[in-house]
């Protein structure tokens, strides 16, 4: 027996001998959940993860994480309608995280610093033809190239970009930004043939010896509605107007311009008309503001710039600098009905913004390729009925946005890659959603959203300068740090701190934590106090 100090008669032991883990009926575990922002991003960006990098000021890592899914962050940071923000859990605390603004900041940083990607050798020996250089085509080409294939893009126009160039006005998307991002994609070693309209896809595939084709021809034909008009009426469609802005001289519209339609294209047409000198730009739309397909932000910006709105109106006749409009009334189903009340309005030009159709002549003779309601039908993997011919973007049935197009490009690339390798692509299982009620928001400091500065109004109606400006570095950092990291550990150490039994071990930065089941009593405090909902309790067997 060991010699003991004076007056000590008993040996002491440590309570470590007492394995209190035996009391447990449930155990904690670390999990990953799908943040709602990620779930809502049409391009499938891992937003929470790139914000995680941005929060530490490591913008390059953030950008690289973003680039895994989307090759056009500076463009997206300007024109994406950011469904991620509508889904963001922080909406329920104060305001959504300014995801789109941070994305724009990262995109601009990349351009400023000239960050580039290494392209792997085109080792697969397979060649893919991409038809169309809009966001869908560019995204597919980018991802296919990174997967090791040789890619050629054929574009009918004499500049690449699709509707990002020939639709979206420069005051929303400066062309230097667009050029920089397209150039970076092409620099991966993608061949771009301009002024190279494809008239017969199978002939082009055969003649060029391509192993697969991705169709991304968009929807570039402005829809015309029949409006009884006199000889002197000047009527053109919005796509022609906006596309004309990229030509030599800007289109002549006159002082008074009526734009017919209620979508984003109508807003762009009216705002462009204002900038071309129209003193009066009126949007004529048959329903009410809340039923307009145009995004609220765009309507607000148009109104700020002096665009007038005529809700509940249809154009009945146009001639000699005047139009006749009929007032409408919504019936119980919300459908507009004519009232028989008419009004006259001055209009030197009528611009039709009634939607766009695809020119599908290039697929007319493709066996098993189905066209329905003017769109090409595709299966889950974006392949048409004709093996090896895939399609995406505006020409297939889906929401028509640039971000959806980018997402299609990525998805198609993965399926084309599998097709070329003679396998099939199966996406990994999705994590369960990181619902708001899993968060413990107490731990997030109060931090109201930052607002992106706007160009002063006088310059907005007289120039095509960019209206919505970027965030500076400190504001972008602040905004990134508002993210709550929904469903994914961000190393706040709460679980480690709050365990009354010291049953959690901290493994170091980026390595997470381990639970010592010898001592964990299964109280659940770590799970309850995890701010981000990155832990679950599961029953013991």
């Amino acid at each position: 027996m060991k010699e003991k100090p004076f007056a000590i008669t008993l040996d002491v032991g440590s309570s470590l001998a007492n394995r209190t883990g035996a009391w447990r009926t449930e155990r904690p575990e670390y999990v990953h959940r799908l943040p709602p922002c990620n779930g809502a991003c049409p391009a499938g960006e891992n937003i929470q993860q790139w914000l995680f990098h941005a929060e530490s000021g490591d913008y390059e890592s953030a950008w690289r994480e973003l680039m895994r899914d989307n090759p056009l962050p500076a463009v997206m940071g300007r024109i994406c309608y950011h469904p991620c923000e509508a889904a963001c859990n922080r909406v329920q605390v104060d305001d959504a995280v300014g995801i789109n603004a941070v994305e724009c900041f990262l995109g601009d940083e990349a351009i400023r610093h000239g960050w580039t990607l290494e392209a792997p050798q085109a080792t697969s020996g397979k060649r893919v033809l991409v038809i169309g250089s809009g966001p869908a085509g560019l995204s597919a080409a980018y991802h296919l190239r990174l997967l090791g294939h040789e890619v050629t893009i054929r574009e009918a126009q004499d500049r690449p970009g699709g509707m990002m160039r020939y639709g979206i006005p420069r005051y929303r998307l400066p062309r230097e930004v667009l050029e920089a991002e397209i150039d970076r994609v092409l620099a991966l070693g993608i061949a771009l043939e301009l002024g190279a309209r494809v008239d017969d896809v199978l002939a082009a595939q055969r003649d060029g010896g391509f192993d697969a084709v991705f169709l991304a021809v968009g929807a570039g034909i402005g829809r015309r509605a029949y409006i009884p008009a006199g000889d002197s009426a000047r009527i053109l469609d919005a796509v022609t107007l906006l596309g004309g802005m990229e030509g030599e001289g800007p289109p002549l519209l006159g002082r008074k311009v009526a734009v017919y339609g209620g979508g984003n294209t109508a807003m762009d047409a009216a705002r462009t008309a204002r900038r071309l000198g129209a003193t009066d730009a009126v949007v004529v739309y048959r329903r009410t503001r809340d039923r307009m397909p145009a995004h609220d932000e765009e309507v607000t910006e148009a109104l700020e710039e002096g665009v007038r709105m005529k809700w509940l109106s249809t154009i009945k006749h146009a001639d000699g600098g005047r139009i006749t409009i009929e007032r409408m009334e919504l019936d119980e189903t919300g459908f507009p009905q004519p009232t028989g009340e008419f009004e006259e309005l001055d209009a030197d030009t009528v611009v039709l913004a009634l939607g766009q159709d695809s020119d599908l002549s290039l697929v007319e003779d493709v066996p098993d390729l189905a066209v329905d309601h003017g769109t090409v039908q595709v299966a889950d993997g974006l392949m048409t009925g004709h093996p090896g011919v895939f399609a995406g973007g505006d020409m297939v049935p889906a929401e028509r946005t640039a971000t959806v197009a980018v997402g299609h490009g990525k998805k198609a690339a993965r399926h084309i890659d599998a097709y070329l390798r003679g396998t099939s692509y199966r996406p990994g299982p999705k994590h369960d959603p990181a619902a708001f009620d899993r968060l413990n928001t107490w731990y997030y400091a109060d931090a109201p959203a930052s607002v992106r500065p706007r160009l002063e109004l006088a310059r907005r109606v007289s120039t095509f300068d960019e209206v919505v400006q970027g965030l500076d570095e400190s504001t972008a950092l602040f905004e990134a740090r508002r993210c709550m990291s929904c469903g994914n550990c961000f190393e706040c150490d709460n679980c480690y701190g709050v365990c009354p039994d010291n049953a959690i071990t901290k493994l170091g930065p980026g390595k997470g934590f381990a639970i010592d089941l010898d001592y964990c009593k299964g109280c659940g405090l770590c799970v309850a106090e995890c701010p981000s909902g990155a832990m679950d309790m599961i029953p013991e067997e």
Binding site: Y443, A445, D446, C492, Y496, P500, Y519
Partner: protein
Amino acid sequence: MNAAQQVKFYQVGSLAAGNRLLAPELRSDQSDPDRSNALTCGHRACQGCGEALGARYVLDAAQRASGGNVIAVNATGCLEVFSTPYPETSWQLPWLHSLFGNAPAVASGVAAALRAKGRTDVRVVGQGGDGGTVDIGLGCLSGMFERNDDVLYVCYDNEAYMNTGVQRSGATPPTARTATTQAVGDAPGAPFGQGKSLPLIAMAHEIPYVATATVAGLRDLEAKVHRAMGMRGARYLHVLVPCPLGWGTPSHDTVRIARLAEQSGLFPVFEALDGEVTAVTKIRRRVPVEEYLRPQKRYAHLFTPEVRTDVIARLQRAADRNIARFELAEEVLP
């Protein structure tokens, strides 16, 4: 404002234990992978015990503040019983236990011995439950205060004598059900108009430092331990530590319940120097007392068979009084 709060960090503010973006010295002691774990694993406290958690928070911080030179003196109570059943101990620091009611006197004695030996580097922490502190140990504690002995005394307040089966103490709040204040009769639970606030009694001694805290405010609690350890003389810290067993709350709710006690105004969190309140922790997300009471079985009789709106209103008035008296409400800017 502590240093961590001055850092412009909005992801978790300074409220979580750690923060990968803060310099390590600005993070909490509890987030340190090498924290001392004064109370280590294998103790026999209930699942989710607030007292076990609070004691580790306090003693790890005290050890950090004094280079590891702390002797703890413990009163009888859960904290003593669950940590030291023979032959095991969970304490990883010198630790003494004598009786239920004499911990402050023993702590004074240890401090005197250290003074006699010239060991001013070694610091003394006395600790006990609310029964040991506000009731049976009060005479010894008052003596320790009035002599200004160099001891930090910490009361872990779980609002009853838990170790012996949840009997009422002088810190049991009105209407709470305990084994000795049953939920029967016209005025069920502990009576209104009895009990005492030991922080205010301590302040009446005009000792250098008195503070309250809860296990829901780790950063605040650690800052107070560090401040107290930076001073000499008699210091008193009163920490609210919910007890899942005695309060009838789920084990995972311990921290949430402490937070609700603070946010309802029922447990004011403040700091006093030389008998004057010098700082309070403002309520950040104010809640009605009902939100605090309802999840606890010790208040179940306020909600079944019928909701006792009269009694709840009276408790709300007590919370409102705290909020007015300690100025707990966030200032509304004009």
